[in-house]
Structure formats: structure tokens, C-alpha cells
């Protein structure tokens, strides 16, 4: 049994089982997200999709819609909190956009534009995260990992290889490769894997195609992520 809830004051219909994010998107309303992907079950870790329901913060990707809910999403308060989450992601890794192949196609960068993030505000960590260039077709640059686990989920649930995992806790959490040597070359990872094309940022990069698309023609150069994501259904 479905119903209707109010999304930023506008009525949005939903079907039984749909989450707030799914129903909002079906009605044409974009909610920022990083770890959510239409092809995967909700993960609820990035918290970019937080909305306020009845005065409480909830992850809209994970909470089923209920009849009569009043959902606040595109408000200065919620967008300010989303911006703070982005700023923490930016200082936690090494996100040096001018040298990144993913620049212009990166969801983290595009969301920072969308949410008016002009600086990272906090003190940068500048962690030491060596890259893994061992694989013949794919480069891993761990500096940019935001721990969304999309590669972990894609490799485990779609490719059935389990190439990636997160290890460590809290500030020591990091992405690892499931091989004795820790090197991607020593796994059965292939460039045709789903996990090779799932990274929302610039960690998993195909070799020999970097910077092929000129500035001005990249994914988020023309239109912002709130428009691109809805048009492409991602």
C-alpha cells in the first residue's frame, strides 16, 4: 500500500517498499548521494542523502517512505550539513583535482560544486597513501577513496570475485586489495568487471584513457550533478 508524503512542501507519491530517495527521484526531485547507486541496495554510509523527517535526521536512501511524512531536503540547514560532510571527505584524503583524471567526471567534486563548497574549511590531513599501478589495465589511486564501498559491493555481489575490502576502523579505515601481496595485479580483477566502472571518485582508473575527454565536454562541465544524475538515472 502506497501513499503520499511531502517533499520540501510538495506532494510525492510512493509505492509500498520505496525509500524516500527512490520515490523523490521518481517524482523528479534530486537528493545528493555518494554511496547510493540505483543498481545496489542502500548502504547508508556517506550520509549525503540525509533529510529531516519530523525533526529527525534520517538517511533517505535507506528509510522507507510512509504516508503523510514531511521531508525537508533542499534547505539551508540540511545543505550546510551535507557541505560539512563533503569538507571532511576532502581533508581526509588527498583530493588534488587539477592533476586528477576523474576531474569533471567526479561525483565528489560535482557535489562540492552543487553545494557551493568553496573551501575545505578544516585542516587537511595529507595522508600517505601509495598508489597501486601493478595491474596492466587499471590504476588504483587510494588518495581519493571516500569509503563508499561501491567497488567492494560490485566486486563481491556482481563480479563474484571479492577483490576489494575496507579494513581498519575510524580514522585508520582504508581500502585494501584482497591478495596476499596486497597488489591488484595478483587478483583476478579484470577491466571488464563491474567494479572497474563503479568508483564515483578517482580511485579506480582505466589506464591509457586519462584526459581523453577535453575540458568543457566532461560529464559535469555543462550541467550540474543534480541535472545529470536525474537525466542519466544514476
Amino acid at each position: 500500500m502506497g501513499g503520499t508524503f511531502l517533499f520540501d512542501g510538495r506532494p510525492v507519491p510512493f509505492e509500498e517498499g520505496q525509500t524516500i530517495l527512490q520515490a523523490a527521484r521518481a517524482a523528479g526531485h534530486y537528493i545528493p548521494h555518494l554511496c547510493w547507486h540505483p543498481d545496489f541496495p542502500p548502504h547508508g554510509s556517506c550520509k549525503l542523502c540525509i533529510v529531516k523527517v519530523g525533526g529527525r535526521h534520517v538517511s533517505s536512501c535507506a528509510l522507507p517512505a510512509r504516508d503523510g511524512m514531511e521531508v525537508e531536503s533542499n534547505t539551508p540547514e540540511i545543505n550546510g550539513e551535507r557541505r560539512a560532510l563533503l569538507q571532511m571527505l576532502f581533508v581526509e584524503g588527498n583530493h588534488f583535482c587539477p592533476s586528477c583524471e576523474k576531474s569533471g567526471n567526479c561525483q565528489l567534486q560535482a557535489l562540492a560544486y552543487e553545494l557551493d563548497m568553496s573551501s575545505a574549511r578544516f585542516a587537511h590531513f595529507y595522508p600517505d597513501r601509495p598508489v597501486d599501478a601493478s595491474h596492466p589495465d587499471v590504476l588504483l589511486d587510494f588518495n581519493r577513496c571516500i569509503f563508499c564501498e561501491l567497488c567492494v559491493r560490485a566486486s563481491r555481489d556482481v563480479d563474484h570475485k571479492g577483490v576489494f575490502a575496507l579494513t581498519g576502523r575510524g580514522i585508520r579505515k582504508h581500502l585494501v586489495v584482497n591478495a596476499e601481496s596486497g597488489r591488484l595485479a595478483d587478483t583476478d580483477f579484470a577491466v571488464s568487471d563491474r567494479a572497474a566502472d563503479i568508483c564515483p571518485v578517482g580511485v579506480i582508473l582505466h589506464k591509457r584513457v586519462g584526459f581523453a575527454v577535453p575540458i568543457g565536454e566532461r560529464k559535469y562541465d555543462e550541467a550540474s550533478i543534480s541535472i545529470v544524475a536525474m537525466e542519466k538515472g544514476e
Binding site: C97, P98, C100, E114, D116, S118, S119, A123, H124, I215
Partner: protein, 184 residues
């Protein structure tokens, strides 16, 4: 922008710390709008005027991060003198390219460049007392002084700098939105 003959002009200072002058090139990339800007702006300390020290100013534009002791002194001089201080470009905002050394040991870096590099015969780390002391890490300028506004980009386009300055001088809250807001 309205003509402002008879009005006191807005005083602007600019400098490049650990930067490449690319942001200053972008400032010049406003082309003929520079003439319009010159009607309402006069420059204090800047590579464009060669004035060596900053006097009281309305706006200070800082390019580059903080990589040595001299950068710290210059940045503090700007903060003392400028009513509004603006971080211009990736390096001022997050350290940028120079900050790519931050996860390395500074001593190792200097040894590698000045002593161990291929082709160097009688190498040695420069130690002239005139040279400013390097900091162990490159810092974004907001880690050293309070910063009022940020203009991201590597470099920000002339268009973005123009939009920002005309907003600020015109008394509007400066805001760069897509597609002027960009990090590369």
C-alpha cells in the same frame, strides 16, 4: 559597473606565495575588462606595481599556499592591512601542487633534489641565509590567518575573478556558482 569619477577607488593588494603566478595571469585574462576595473580599483602591493610592502587596503588577493617562513610574514602583513582577504586558486585553498610533498620528509626531498639526483656532481642543499626557511609542510592560507572568501580553480578563470571582484566592490555577497565554481 557604474563610472565612479570622484569616488575614492578601492585599494587592492595581490601577492603570490607558494604559487606559479597562474592566478595572476588569470587576473590579466579579463582582457578589456581590466580597463573597467582600473576605473574603480587602484593597486597597492602587487607584482603589477612592484610595491614591496602592503599599506592599508580594502581587498587582498592571495595566490599560493604557505611553504616557507617568508610566506608566513607576507601573509600576516596582508591580513593586518586588508579589510577583506581572499584566497585565490587551488594552492591558497588546499596547498595545491606544492602540498604534494606533504607526505614526504622535507630532508629527504632536499637530499633527492640537490644531492642524489642524477647528473649532480658536487651537490649540496642550499643554505644561504638569504633563503627563507622551508616549513615541514605546505599549508593552505586559512590554516595561518583568517580568510574571508575563497575563489577555487587552478587557476580560477578571468571570468570567475571578474564576477567575484565586481560583486564584492558592488556591495553584493560574492557567489560563484556552476560553471564558474570549479576546482581544476
Amino acid at each position: 559597473m557604474s563610472d565612479s569619477i570622484g569616488m575614492p577607488r578601492v585599494r587592492v593588494a595581490t601577492t603570490s606565495l607558494a604559487g606559479c603566478f597562474g592566478c595572476h595571469m588569470s587576473l590579466l585574462d579579463m582582457d578589456e575588462r581590466l580597463l573597467e576595473l582600473a576605473k574603480v580599483v587602484e593597486f597597492d602591493r602587487s607584482p603589477l606595481t612592484d610595491i614591496k610592502h602592503c599599506g592599508p587596503c580594502d581587498i587582498g588577493l592571495i595566490e599560493g599556499g604557505v611553504c616557507n617562513a617568508e610566506n608566513v610574514h607576507v601573509l600576516r602583513e596582508f591580513r593586518r592591512n586588508c579589510k577583506t582577504l581572499v584566497a585565490v586558486g587551488a594552492c591558497a585553498i588546499n596547498g595545491g601542487l606544492p602540498a604534494q610533498r606533504n607526505h614526504l620528509d622535507l630532508g629527504d626531498c632536499l637530499q633527492q633534489v640537490y644531492v642524489k639526483r642524477d647528473g649532480i656532481e658536487e651537490g649540496g642543499v642550499p643554505d644561504d641565509p638569504e633563503l627563507p626557511l622551508l616549513l615541514d609542510r605546505v599549508h593552505p592560507i586559512h590554516e595561518v590567518v583568517r580568510v574571508d572568501y575563497f575563489i577555487p580553480g587552478c587557476p580560477p578563470s578571468g571570468e570567475a575573478i571578474w564576477k567575484f571582484l565586481t560583486d564584492l566592490i558592488g556591495g553584493r555577497t560574492p557567489r560563484l556558482a556552476h560553471p564558474l565554481l570549479r576546482f581544476d
